[in-house]
């Protein structure tokens, strides 16, 4: 099958790959590029485990064609920690015991990051809204909500 070249920035690194036309960004990231942090929980846009950030927007990588990502700035959970230091969201998820099996976690963190980038001091309702496209079967959500609220507080204290 015909392959198409695609170039984008992934977690700050320039990345180029040949993909078959029709390949999802999720499969390209996981199977071709080797970033397995986005998870495939449904491949049909209903679980949020594959969430990534494309040009600042939260996107489901299972519903995004890789070939449409030329020139894009893509961020995944694998690239969140800087210099080995966890991002405040990652720290908060650890401290709040907000991961069990962890399969939903990278997607949850992506969704939360887009929220906090835009709304540094979110209300509980804001957090609920931001996470409502992400399924978690283990935690009952409350620890995740608390983790995001804690990360927001930590952020605003750092900024102050």
């Amino acid at each position: 099958m015909a392959k198409v070249p695609v170039e984008f920035t992934l977690n700050g690194l320039e990345t180029a790959e040949f993909v078959e036309s029709g390949t999802t960004l999720l499969n390209a990231l996981r199977d071709k590029i080797g970033d397995t942090s986005p998870k495939g929980g449904c491949h049909q846009g209903t679980c949020g485990a594959c969430s990534v950030i494309i040009d600042g927007e939260l996107r489901l990588s299972c519903l995004t064609l890789a070939e449409t990502c030329g020139g894009a700035d893509i961020k995944t959970t694998a690239g969140l920690a800087e210099g080995g230091v966890l991002h405040p969201l990652q720290r908060a998820f650890l401290d709040a015991f907000a991961t069990q099996c962890g399969f939903c976690t990278p997607g949850m963190i992506m969704a939360a990051k887009v929220l906090l980038d835009r709304t540094p001091n979110p209300s509980r309702e804001d957090v609920v809204e931001a996470l409502s496209g992400n399924i978690c079967r283990c935690t009952g959500y409350e620890p995740i909500i608390q983790a995001v609220l804690t990360a927001a507080r930590a952020n605003s204290q750092n900024a102050a």
Binding site: T46, F97, E129, S132, I135, I145
Partner: protein, 334 residues
Amino acid sequence: MAIRRGRGVAAINYPTGMNLGGDPTQALVHSTPTGNFMVTLSSVDLGQGMKQIMAQICAETIGVPTDRVIIDTADTDTGPHCMGTFASRGTHRAGNAVIQAAKEARQVMLEVAAEELEVNASDLETDGQGNIQVKGAPQKSISIFDVALSAHFKRGRSISGRGMFLIPRSYPEKETGAMKPSTCYAHACTVAEVEVDDETGEVTVLTVKNVFEIGRALNPKMVEQQLVGGSWMGISHALYETTEPYYPNRDHGGTDFNQYLMPGPGDLAQTEIIVLERPSADGPFGAKGPGEMCANPQIPAVANAVFDAVGVRIDTLPITPERILRALKAQAAG
């Protein structure tokens, strides 16, 4: 037409293990040359945190901090047999096996330390910080790091141990059903408070107060994870979930997360968890298996609360708005 409130209670117990099939799990423990401890298993972590709990159990038994323990699990080339992670058996069965293996390893460790310190092994104790000291004379001590080095390079000892947990299989007696299906039992009592909209049939769970008795909270934060998530799942079972909404009719089964319903982050009940610990005689440090039972009592508690609110019994799960409305209609028709 009104929003009606009600509350309901349920109390349950839950068996640990599957003795009706034979219930073995084995573990191996050995030290590295610098005094870290490897626990080798073939048990599976489904997300409940089995690896972490086994590390804490090994650490407590050997007398080292948990971060000195490494868990290597679920490679059938290296890990000894485990029946599997189900029937609330993981923590209980694997935990017991790890304790036995760790005790054997600890004994060798103390013997090597005794030779180094020129005392009797029975006079030694661990300080929990990575050192072995003479009971009553803590200034006479040696680090586990040095003990492991000595065992490996000087004394030719293997600081290691084997652990095994097996309950003999129980065969139910044909006529009376006499059997021993499990070991210890966990307990719970839940009170749920709901609001029912008698116009739409919609149920909102306002609060759930769960009291769980789990033998021993081996890691309280992880117990909390499990119980909070379980309580959510119980409510979800009560009100939302099924693959066959018109069972036994096979049609209309949901095939994705849009059709298969579960409460989302905006649908959460205010959840309270209280934990009691009555250590079991046979569990690791008295622990019982809490993983399954924590999702059970909410279901009848919610069902009973719905009745308390609107006076109709929904004896078929899940308790959907449709079922409530039909029952209300039947009730009104007399």
